[in-house]
């Protein structure tokens, strides 16, 4: 399977392009997704596939998702874009009460295999209402799948799976990762099964459990820890629902320590569920409590300098790992 190095934005663009080419049922809709206004992963697609398969819509998020559901009910595979994740609240009713529950409420007679792509603008100084990571909301809704790719390769493979999945899928793309480059398989049939995590870095002393942008900080932390003689494994969950619990338990039962890292707010975040699961299953194996390193419980400040203090950092991750190793507090830098 030949590969090519590209950015995550290009990898997402390639996935959308190949899905549109492969299947007439696929179409894209959202605000400013068609040329010449498009600037993100949909750039160039309306020119190639026409404005009716890459459809610019008015600014009407509830109607965008509702329309996608209606088309999906009738055999289409729509990929709707909610430009910035903070806008998803406007469309939440359609996602939570219609898309997620249709299969169940109709006894399987009606389904809505939509894909919703949304972009997280955190960490760019755009302020409290243009920066949020809200995946925990949607993990809580039975019937929805939640997908958070971190690398170009995973972005292509997971988006492809989401588009052709029979259930409604929410794909979070992280703007701060859009420029990161990596090898991506060019084969249109390449896809990564949802619910399959991946160990991105082997290690023996502790498992850093993460996804999305958390992977970047975790890999940096693992490198810093190696210099201290600590071998940190980095497990990229890739999807939150379905969640690869078998791999999670296999990893942590081996290292016997775990720190969960994510950009979403730490309080009542995805890490709370992950830590609870691990502790329920591996209580007698764990050397230390499972710790979490997430965003602080504050709205994102407008000032970029202040905002940087909100998110997980290498220091906070390293400090958490030291705590799981029982290192004396003195050696624990930063606030955990």
């Amino acid at each position: 399977m030949d590969e090519q190095v590209m950015s995550q934005r290009e990898a997402l663009n390639l996935a959308l392009d190949q899905a549109l080419a492969a299947d007439e049922r696929v179409l894209l809709l959202g605000e400013d997704i068609a040329d010449p206004g498009a600037s993100g992963p949909t750039k160039g697609l309306s020119t190639r596939y026409g404005a009716d398969r890459v459809l610019d819509t008015p600014i009407s998020e509830a109607a965008i998702l509702g329309a996608a559901i209606g088309m999906a009910m009738d055999g289409f595979l729509p990929v709707a874009e909610i430009m910035i994740m903070d806008f998803i609240g406007i469309a939440a009713d359609q996602l939570i009460n219609n898309a997620a529950k249709l299969r169940f409420m109709t006894g399987g007679r009606v389904t809505a295999p939509i894909t919703v792509r949304t972009q997280v603008y955190g960490g760019l100084g755009t302020g409290a209402t243009h920066s949020q990571s809200l995946e925990a909301w949607f993990m809580h809704i039975p019937g929805l799948k939640v997908i958070v790719p971190a690398t170009p390769r995973d972005a292509k493979g997971l988006l492809t799976s989401a588009i052709f999945d029979e259930d409604p899928c929410l794909v979070l793309e992280t703007i701060r990762l859009q420029g990161q480059r990596g090898p991506v398989p060019l084969d249109p049939s390449f896809s990564i099964p949802l619910g399959q995590g991946e160990v991105k870095r082997p290690g023996t002393d502790v498992t850093l459990v993460t996804y999305g942008r958390g992977l970047v900080e975790s890999l940096n932390a693992a490198a810093a820890l190696e210099a201290e003689g600590v071998s940190a494994e980095v497990l990229d969950l890739r999807t939150l629902v379905p969640l690869d619990v078998p791999l999670l338990l296999e990893c942590v039962s081996r290292t016997r320590r775990a720190v969960v890292v994510h950009d979403a707010i730490q309080f009542a975040g995805p890490g709370a569920e992950i830590a609870a699961m691990v502790q329920e299953e591996l209580f007698d194996v764990l050397e230390a409590p499972v710790l979490r390193v997430g965003a602080r419980f504050v709205p994102n400040p407008g000032s970029a300098a202040l905002e940087a203090q909100v998110y997980p950092s290498v220091d906070r991750i390293v400090s958490a790992v030291r705590r799981t190793l029982g290192k004396p507090a003195a050696e624990v830098g930063g606030d955990v």
Binding site: S7, R9, S39, G40, Y121, G123, L124, R176, G179, A304
Partner: protein, 80 residues
């Protein structure tokens, strides 16, 4: 002798870093405010950036290097 710090500009909303691809005024050269001073490439587009002041340019940056938005890449020594 006031000093104007040359920084990577916030060329659009969705970028956090950019590559310095060209220094359009050589080290020690003179530039007038508003004239092209350097060029950056973000993942999507390459743009020329105008000088924010007039004076002598001193670079503290390397070409083909990725800088955070806002990072200092040189100074303009303004002759007052």
């Amino acid at each position: 002798m006031s000093e104007f710090t040359i920084r990577i500009p916030r060329a659009s909303v969705a970028i956090s870093e950019a590559t310095l691809v060209e220094q359009l005024v050589e080290e020690g050269g003179h530039v007038n405010e508003g004239e092209p001073l350097f060029a950056i490439a973000t993942e999507k587009v390459e743009t020329e950036i105008a000088a924010g002041a007039s004076g002598t340019v001193h670079w503290t940056s390397e070409l083909e290097t990725v800088y955070e938005v806002g990072a200092e890449i040189g100074v303009i020594q303004a002759e007052d």
